[in-house]
C-alpha cells in the first residue's frame, strides 16, 4: 500500500544535512559529498514517477544516494570503489525503476560493527535534530557539529551571545531527552 508521498519543495531543508552526513562518511571529501548530494536531489526529481510510496521520502533519497556513491567509485576506479561495488552490487541484472526501494535494506552495506553503530547513532542524532525548532537546530549544528566560534554564529545569524546560549541550552535539553528515549 502506498503511504508515503514526495514533496520536493522541502527536500533541501529536511534532508540535505542527513544525506551529506551519510555521504561524507563514505567519500571523505566535502566537495565530492556536496556534488553527490546535489545529484541525488536532481535524480530524485527526475525519477519521482518511479516512487511507489512504500518507503519514506528520506529512505528513498538515501537509496538514490547509495547508487550515486557507487557510480562515483566506479568512475574513479579506485581499489575502494571496486571493493564497494563488489559488496553492494553483487547482482546487477535488475530492471530500471525497481532497484531504488529494493536496495534500501542492504545487508552487505557495512561490515564493521563499530561503523554500523556509528551510522545508527548518526541517524538517531539526525532524527532527534529534525524534531527541534529550525533555529535551535541551526545554532546547535553550527556550534556543535561545525565547531564555529560563538561570535561567528552571532554575526551570521544576527543574534546576541545570550540568545545563542539560550538556544543551545534548549537544543541540548531536547536532544538529550530525545536520545534518552531512542538511544541511551
Amino acid at each position: 500500500m502506498a503511504n508515503h508521498q514526495l514533496n520536493p519543495n522541502n527536500w533541501i531543508d529536511l534532508y540535505s544535512d542527513y544525506l551529506f552526513n551519510y555521504t561524507i562518511s563514505r567519500v571523505n571529501d566535502r566537495v565530492i559529498a556536496q556534488d553527490l548530494v546535489s545529484e541525488t536531489f536532481l535524480a530524485g526529481l527526475k525519477s519521482m514517477g518511479n516512487f511507489k510510496g512504500e518507503a519514506s521520502e528520506r529512505t528513498w533519497l538515501i537509496s538514490i544516494l547509495k547508487r550515486k556513491i557507487i557510480d562515483y567509485y566506479r568512475k574513479i576506479n579506485s581499489n575502494k570503489g571496486k571493493a564497494e561495488v563488489r559488496m553492494t552490487y553483487n547482482n546487477d541484472s535488475e530492471s530500471d525503476g525497481d532497484w531504488l526501494e529494493e536496495r534500501v535494506a542492504d545487508p552487505f552495506d557495512k561490515t564493521a560493527e563499530d561503523n554500523l553503530e556509528n551510522t545508527e547513532l548518526g541517524n538517531a542524532i539526525y532524527d532527534c535534530l529534525s524534531k527541534l525548532p529550525q533555529k535551535q537546530a541551526e545554532v546547535f549544528k553550527m556550534k556543535t557539529i561545525l565547531g564555529y566560534e560563538t561570535e561567528t554564529i552571532c554575526n551570521e545569524l544576527d543574534i546576541t551571545a545570550s540568545n545563542l546560549w539560550v538556544l543551545i541550552h534548549r537544543a541540548r535539553t531536547a536532544l538529550a531527552d530525545c536520545m534518552e528515549e531512542n538511544w541511551f
Partner: protein, 85 residues
C-alpha cells in the same frame, strides 16, 4: 540582592555547564560549577546528561553542510524544480 561571589544558582550552573561543553567556560566559572556540583543533585544530573550528549555526538562523528554549501545546493535544485512545476 547582591550576587554571591562563590555560590551560583542552578540556572547559572547549567549555563556554565553548557559553555564548558565547548571549552568556553573560564577557569573561575569552572570552579564555581565544581562547587555547585559537589552538593546540587539537579545540577549534577544535568551535567552528567550534558557530558553524555557531548560524548555521543563526538563518538558518532556527525557532519553537516555549512550554510553557503546548503544554499548552493538549494539554488541548483530550485532551478530544476522550477522546470518541473
Amino acid at each position: 540582592m547582591k550576587k554571591s561571589f562563590l555560590f551560583i544558582s542552578c540556572e547559572e550552573a547549567k549555563h556554565i555547564c553548557d559553555k564548558s561543553q565547548y571549552n568556553e567556560a573560564t577557569g573561575w566559572e569552572r570552579i564555581k560549577l565544581a562547587i555547585r556540583l559537589s552538593w546540587c543533585r539537579v545540577t549534577k544530573a544535568y551535567s552528567n546528561r550534558n557530558n553524555k550528549l557531548t560524548d555521543v555526538i563526538e563518538h558518532a562523528e556527525v557532519d553537516c553542510l555549512k550554510n553557503d554549501e546548503r544554499n548552493n545546493i538549494k539554488q541548483q535544485f530550485e532551478k530544476e524544480l522550477a522546470k518541473h512545476q
